[in-house]
């Protein structure tokens, strides 16, 4: 075999790896949607789950997933933004900065089950809340924070230096120029990153097992008093999310139609990930166009 044949062989191998991975993705998504799509009736998506009879839906779980995502983002975005601004603008090359960097790395590399156990220790046992939505959201905040900090830092750093320098030269204070020049310019990047991170949060399960719990009260969607235990808005109730539901019906469930419920839930999760991804791309390009057109 001469070197040209070897080169062709290698090219072939690389092509097949790429084709294989693409096929894997389409296989996975296609299979889940094919299996789950017939189950996605309005009734399945809105009715409460059943704990032992067949025919339960995922209404409460779906709502919990979105609610916990909103709460998590409410905590993470300001914290991530603050951390990102610090790292991109204020951090000097000193011990403190490298400590923060290490901490972000530590948080990013923690297995999510470990974050869940920390949540169990602090947000469940120490506070005496028990399994709650808020405990879950705080655990997810820890889980999501390093991602958001990195997203914000990268977005801020990718703003051209000249823009910042020009604003400083005009006599703006540093903070003022961050607010009026840097943040608007970095906004598309931050938004895109935040949406992608949302997809990750939406599908997370391990850190919620011991914090938001594996049960959910049957929600009464007519009751919007946030202090009532069956109210969807209550943040001190256990809140099983969709991802946790897939795990719990498969490994602890008593219902006879596990497969159907899990198929349907998995299809919803996959769809959500697809939507989050497409949304991030679409908004990203839209904002990019808008901003470059204005400039």
């Amino acid at each position: 075999m001469n070197s040209r044949q070897r080169d062709q062989l290698a090219t072939l191998v690389f092509y097949s790896i790429a084709a294989g991975i693409t096929a894997l993705l389409f296989g996975l998504i296609g299979y889940m949607l094919y299996q789950g799509f017939p189950k996605l009736t309005l009734d399945f998506l809105t009715s409460p789950s059943s704990s032992f009879k067949a025919g339960g839906g995922i209404g409460s779980q779906l709502f919990n997933s979105f609610y916990i995502l909103v709460l998590t983002m409410l905590f993470t975005i300001p914290l991530g933004l603050g951390g990102g601004i610090y790292m991109a603008e204020y951090a000097r090359d000193n011990k403190l900065t490298s400590t923060i960097r290490t901490c972000i790395e530590v948080l990013a590399s923690l297995p999510s089950i470990v974050i869940g156990m920390f949540g169990l220790l602090v947000f469940v046992n120490l506070t005496g809340w028990g399994y709650t939505m808020i405990g879950g959201a705080l655990a997810l905040t820890v889980f999501n924070l390093p991602v958001m900090v990195r997203v914000c830092e990268d977005a801020l750093r990718s703003v051209p230096r000249e823009q910042k320098e020009a604003s400083l030269a005009l006599g703006l204070t540093h903070w003022h120029s961050i607010k009026t020049v840097l943040l608007p310019a970095a906004f598309p990047g931050i938004l895109t990153g935040a949406i992608l991170a949302s997809g990750r949060v939406f599908g997370e399960a391990a850190s919620l097992l011991f914090t938001a719990g594996i049960t959910t009260p049957t929600l009464d969607f007519g009751n919007w008093n946030p202090f009532d235990s069956v109210s969807p808005l209550n943040i001190f109730r256990p809140a099983e999310t969709l991802a946790v539901h897939i795990w719990s019906v498969n490994t602890q469930g008593l219902i006879p139609d596990v497969r159907a419920v899990a198929d349907g839930s998995a299809a919803v999760l996959i769809l959500a990930v697809l939507v989050f991804n497409l949304l991030a791309r679409w908004i990203g390009s839209l904002l990019h166009k808008k901003i470059t057109a204005q400039a």
Partner: protein, 309 residues
Amino acid sequence: MDGNTVRASSRLLKSTNKTALHLERRGKMTVMVCAFLIISAALSITIFLTVKGLDAFLENGVSIVDFLSSTNWNPTDHKSPTYGALSFIFGSFLVTILAACLAAPLGIGCAIFMTEIAPSWGKKVLQPVIELLVGVPSVVYGFIGLSVLVPFLRSVVGGQGFSVLAGTLVLAVMILPTVASIAADGLNSLPGGLREGSFALGATRWQTIWRVVLPAAMPTLLTAIVLGMARAFGEALAVQMVIGNVRTLPEALTDPAATLTTIITLNMGHTTFGSTENNVLWSLALILLAMSFFFILFIRYLSSRRKFS
């Protein structure tokens, strides 16, 4: 409430008035607080889990040597409970390393395809594919493993289907996109002159990849693999659904096994908080924590050896 209203004067570009300076100081304070919250989150996780993880050894008198070296795990025996976690530690390492062995060549191959073979359209197609694969929740991987892979293995290779092999395959698919995307970043950041130089010397594309690109990018590629391994090591639910959760050492790939994470998820709810059998689960979590520190240190070491960045 000058937090929400901004006075007309500060709309002027020149912001030398008192409000602006005040805002400047407060802005800086705000971001400092955020930064300190991040530090305190990381510190408190480390401290809380370390203290809790050591309880089993310090308070319940579990022997740390037995814990790390014995495979005899029988915490519910009322007369003489034993707490040997070696099989789970071994199980975690086994599936992690096997998954990395599968995912590394495929992921790096994918990255090479994106950067070296078909940089124009390959990237356009594969980049979204990889991003989507990263986004697929791990429970979905686990569920597909449980409902497709396990029955398939049962009918093809025999046994129960719940096996080290099933766990390895699920993990390999899970970490593949992580490895691929970091490896692609690494290959992209190599100076273009390297390749051109090699081609100018008459090397074929494969020779260039094998002799020039891969060695030059080696530290980054290793980082990609280590990050993938870190993810595999800590993954809990997907593995638990397919591995069988048996506490003996596996003798073959088709044997079931257990990992640190699967034992934690299975037993956490059944045990009472503060009991020895519960505390040893926290010790297992401490091992997970220690391993993630190890992975960080290893990645730092690798990045210090990076030739081009």
